[in-house]
């Protein structure tokens, strides 16, 4: 029973990683860039939801929509201001810009909302806690909600990318940006849309993250962001189901490692597993194998 409850804890942590990883992997898959500011967009989304609930007195659904809307605007702005001018630059330049953007967002949050931690209200998610085996095993409403949200987002994203015209454009841009442009696809608009969707997902992830772990500070997004990036690589970066599987596995490994090996080595175990997986499958669990032309 203790093992089961640890497994549930792992699942709840992993589902949070997974939902963040979805945003990472989607932007990487299409724009072929690592948006290290993703974790900080999550933090901004959580702050917006916090303000909407505490200061503006909005109901939870409106708070969610406000956070998604403002994050979408933020995502498009970041892409337009910081990443678009670097479209032709080396990927290293874009990566450094993304890291800079991450610091910018953190420090802006520090200016706007101050350094004191805030505690995210628990009203966002009203699902009751599920008790199994006569109260011995508890699955919180937040965990169930996160897993449901994960599955829903995964299905919607996959359908969107494989069935719609914009999705098709995204796949084209992902495959060969130059050729896509020659075929009359507006690459800038496609990438902007990708960022818009990624940032709206970040707002959802921020709210779920802070519903599970309510301490909200300007650095709240950074460590979960790094872990989720690891999860995306673990699952095969660019693959949407891979992000979900990678996130959940990472959470379960972290919790079981802490519970049965050592609380001190929890993070070390996570990254050791990542190294081992990458040694045997360099593109991650569900990543496309890279064919080398000789």
């Amino acid at each position: 029973m203790i093992f089961l409850s640890n497994l549930v804890n792992g699942l709840s942590l992993g589902s949070i990683y997974a939902i963040i990883a979805l945003g990472y992997t989607m932007v990487y898959g299409i724009a072929k860039m690592l948006n290290f500011a993703h974790g900080d967009v999550i933090m901004v989304g959580a702050y917006i939801a916090f303000c909407a609930l505490q200061y503006w007195g909005l109901p939870p659904v409106a708070a969610l929509l406000a956070a998604m809307l403002l994050c979408t605007v933020l995502g498009i702005t970041i892409e337009g201001l910081a990443y678009r001018p670097l479209r032709q630059a080396t990927s290293l330049a874009v990566l450094i810009t993304a890291i800079g953007m991450s610091y910018l967002l953190q420090n802006l949050a520090l200016l706007i909302w101050g350094a004191n931690p805030k505690s995210f209200p628990s009203v966002m998610i009203q699902l009751p806690t599920l008790s199994l085996f006569g109260d011995q095993l508890k699955i919180s409403g937040v965990t169930m909600m996160t897993i449901l949200a994960n599955i829903a987002i995964m299905i919607v994203l996959t359908t969107f990318i494989s069935r719609t015209k914009m999705g098709k454009a995204m796949r084209c841009v992902s495959e060969d940006r130059g050729a896509a442009e020659l075929m009359g696809i507006n690459v800038n608009r496609t990438i902007s849309t990708t960022f818009a969707i990624g940032s709206a997902l970040a707002a959802v992830a921020g709210i779920l993250l802070c519903s599970a772990y309510p301490t909200l500070m300007p650095t709240t997004g950074s460590m979960p962001g790094i872990k989720a990036f690891t999860a995306a690589v673990f699952g095969g970066i660019g693959s949407i189901p891979g992000a979900m599987i990678g996130g959940i596995l990472l959470g379960v490994i972290e919790i079981l490692g802490k519970a049965y090996i050592s609380t001190e080595l929890g993070d070390a175990i996570v990254f050791a597993v990542l190294i081992i997986v990458l040694l045997f499958r360099p593109t991650g669990l569900l990543g496309k194998p890279i064919r080398e032309k000789v």
């Binding site: 350094a115 004191n116 505690s119």
Partner: protein
């Protein structure tokens, strides 16, 4: 040319006599406060800054020998920034330091101050590493070992549950310091430690630690940690219906001022502190009333420590005969000698200091009831 030089000399002499005459009446002590005014530990630094300023205003208004001017510096709880803040304070003419508020920056600034011979009194940096091998650094708060040992002794003495779990931050000198002395003392007084788990600064998930305490049947959870992770631990415990006694130390102080925090989670949490805002003595009542009037908040232990610290510095300065504009290195040795002779009664009790910089005063515990600290008597 000679005339000009003579004139200049005369002028300088005249001015210095004038300055001296002015100093005879009231002497302005320039005290630097260094602490995290922004950043994750800002709750502590803002509290010590406010406490120090209230004391400075009171002393200046009382019209005694000294007026106090506080030079406020922000170190963001970062050792490197704290050293810059320290240099900046000296440039602004600081003669002594009330600070730094938190342990890690205090160790860094202490090393600089030891070399420069600047007298430091920290309100709240409680590690022994703060005062170790430095004759110029003194503390208003208990040391970590004293907090750990005093907590264990207190738990045993007040017949609190004896099956104890400890969750501490093993990436933090403050937390590990308290943990070690707690464990030593716990064995001595017959507490049984059934679960020991750790975390680091980046940890967001505490489900394993809380579950371990619960599964091992701990009835009291000792949390020698800061309040931000503690708030997460309280939430985790409530989500699995685990209701032990939570016992914290001074880092727990501040948990009630987290914006949006559901204070009912902290109901029944105990913390060891020498200061309780609801104490009925005149000193405390006056301090709490002033603090509430100015900042609309009940002062925590950090504010109280800094308040007492400024009074202690002024008492020591008087004994050491500090004069207007004395350089910090000129008065350091006299301050060290004076500090060991004075006895100060403040809002955190009656304090005397040993040569190693440690304070001696009596610890008490408070318990959180209906979202406020209440003195604990059992």
């Amino acid at each position: 040319m000679k005339k000009l030089v003579a004139l200049m000399l005369a002028l300088t002499l005249g001015l210095s006599v004038f300055a001296f005459a002015g100093a005879e009446e009231t002497i302005t002590l320039k005290i630097a406060h260094i602490g995290p005014l922004t950043g994750a530990a800002a709750v502590y630094g803002v509290a010590t800054s406010r406490g120090a300023k209230i004391a400075a205003e009171e002393i200046s208004a009382a019209g005694g020998k000294y007026k106090v001017e506080i030079i406020d510096e922000d170190d963001t709880h970062d050792a490197e920034k704290a050293v810059y803040a320290y240099g900046d304070a000296l440039d602004k003419g600081a003669q002594m330091i009330i600070g730094t508020t938190t342990t890690t920056p205090c160790i860094a600034v202490g090393a600089e101050a030891y070399n420069d011979r600047v007298f430091m009194l920290t309100p709240s940096a409680s590690s022994t590493a703060v005062t170790a091998d430095k004759d110029n650094v003194y503390q208003v708060c208990f040391t970590d070992p004293a907090q750990g040992a005093a907590s264990a002794a207190y738990i045993a003495e007040k017949n609190l549950p004896t099956k104890v779990a400890v969750i501490y931050n093993n990436a933090d000198a403050y937390s590990t310091g308290i943990y070690q002395t707690f464990v030593d003392k716990a064995q001595e007084v017959g507490l049984e430690i059934v679960s020991t788990t750790t975390f680091t600064d980046d940890t967001t998930d505490f489900s394993v630690q809380v579950a371990d305490a619960k599964n091992n049947g701990a009835e009291l959870v000792f949390l020698p940690i800061y309040y931000t992770p503690a708030s997460q631990i309280l939430l985790n415990a409530s989500s699995i219906d685990y209701k032990p006694v939570f016992f914290g130390v001074d880092g727990m102080d501040g948990i009630l001022s987290i914006e949006g925090f559901d204070t009912s989670l902290a109901e029944g949490v105990m913390l060891l502190t020498p200061f309780s805002a609801d104490a009925q003595d005149e000193l405390t009542k006056n301090f709490v009333a002033k603090y509430q009037e100015l900042y609309n908040e009940i002062p925590n232990q950090f504010a109280a420590d800094a308040y007492d610290g400024v009074y202690a510095l002024v008492a020591a300065a008087e004994k050491a005969g500090v004069q207007e504009g004395d350089a910090p290195e000129a008065i350091c040795d006299a301050m060290i000698a004076a500090m060991q002779e004075i006895e100060v009664t403040g809002v955190t009790g009656t304090m005397t200091w040993a040569a190693n910089g440690e304070v001696s005063k009596t610890p008490t515990a408070v318990i959180i009831e209906n979202g406020a600290y209440v003195g604990f008597n059992n």
